[in-house]
């Protein structure tokens, strides 16, 4: 499978033979994008290593032996797995600027809840849209919209999930925005029509360089999906 590299790969920082921060990733992955946004928010230089998921590298298998998945952040040789865990790690390690988590413990708990909600609900339901057909797909679309509406309701009139500052919960969801065009095309529906405020929030997030430079073009994602679908005969 031809893997196109994103335009926004940050340059290597040589450090006596190796980068301090390495990211094993796959450019269309919404989970990988979360880590890229967090690294960009903090201005962290890192080496991006595109992974071939059909042919997993020894490095990936060594760094994530249990799940064998991307993204994996390798910091000073030590791996950190699971995108939400990685984002929290980045926030706690590079804690001198651009906090990603709210400062109040109660609001932090809320941010964690919503990021966890995205993990539990959004991906699995969206998968149904691109794997099912007919009535099953209609049901999946309805479920997906309902889930998006819950989150739209949570954002409400605020600029971001938890208020004035862009952060953890926004990062968890906004990466799916690059896949919306694909879901809409496959499911023949408009997310903006159903959840206009959510799309407004997404566009607001896209005004941040960390987001706009990370999220691949929606059409590119769609082309990737079609290519993958053809190859895997989905």
């Amino acid at each position: 499978m031809a893997i196109a590299q994103t335009q926004n790969i940050t340059t290597c920082r040589s450090n006596g033979g190796g980068s301090e921060v390495v990211l094993l990733d796959f450019w269309p992955s919404m989970f990988g994008m979360r880590v890229r946004i967090a690294l960009a928010e903090k201005g962290i230089e890192y080496e991006y290593k595109e992974q071939d998921l059909a042919n997993k590298s020894p490095l990936l298998l060594e760094m994530n032996p249990i799940h064998k998945k991307i993204p994996v952040l390798i910091h000073n040789g030590k791996p950190i797995n699971e995108s939400c865990i990685i984002v929290q790690y980045i926030d706690e390690t590079w804690n001198d600027k651009s906090p990603l988590m709210p400062s109040d413990p109660y609001v932090r708990a809320q941010a964690r809840f919503w990021a966890d909600y995205v993990d539990k609900k959004v991906y699995e339901t969206s998968k149904k849209i691109w794997t099912l057909k007919g009535e099953e797909q209609e049901k999946a679309k309805k479920e997906f919209i309902e889930i998006l509406k819950v989150m739209e309701g949570q954002i409400g009139e605020k600029p971001y999930f938890m208020g004035e500052s862009f952060g953890y919960a926004d990062i968890a969801l906004v990466t799916f925005y690059s896949w919306f065009y694909t879901f809409e095309t496959l499911g023949n529906f408009s997310i903006e029509k159903e959840c206009p405020k959510l799309i407004a929030w997404a566009k607001r997030c896209m005004q941040r360089e960390s987001v706009s430079k990370t999220l691949p073009d929606s059409k590119k994602i769609y082309d990737f999906f079609i290519e993958m679908k053809t190859k895997l005969d989905l």
Binding site: I66, H75, I80, I86, T93, P105, A109
Partner: protein
Amino acid sequence: MAKNSEIKLIGTAASPFVNRVQFVLHLKSIEYEFIDENLASKSELLLKSNPVYKKVPVLLHANKPPIPESLIIIEYLDEIYPDIHPILPSDPLVRADNRFWANFIDNKFFPLFEELRRTPEKEGKEAIKKQLIEGSKLLEEAFVKFSNGKAYFGGDDVGYLDVVLGCFLGWTKFVEKHNEFKIIDEVRTPKLLEWTKRIWSHEALKDAIPRNETLMDFYMMLQINRPPRKATSS
């Protein structure tokens, strides 16, 4: 030493997720009111407090909106009472590692228990038992790594993973007995076995461990409300 009594916990004795929160409240000597919930007939309070998932545990703290999800509650309690028996370590890398294993336990290991219950055929059950045994071996390795020769995952005293995994032991023993096999045993998981004895007699957990009758009642309720799948005819 009794602390503020503005904390209420909505839960049920048979839930390991609820037991975790109780364990942490006891470790931190936090006074709280336990609101017993009947999961077969959910109360208005629960449905209002956790409209998204309608599950226990839910923490009510003073007049703040409710906090659901056991792992989120634990981190919240740890952040508002950081000086009394800290649960998560302070080093970001060790924190990330702890969170990774909690994620593994909750999303890969424990769901197998329910899967085992709902799988009707012997062959299916054997396959799941195998997965549980594989999982327990990974947990043994994790224990050896985290404990580093000491008594608990947390080292000299109970930490995050002791709480997260320790509270599943009641159900582990129940499932072992019910299905006539060992998940934790002296040959495959000797260190983990020693740890289970230690954690079960821990002062702060003793009172939260549900009695076998409680687990049996809960099991019977599940059998009725979420019966095993029908066996597929060969």
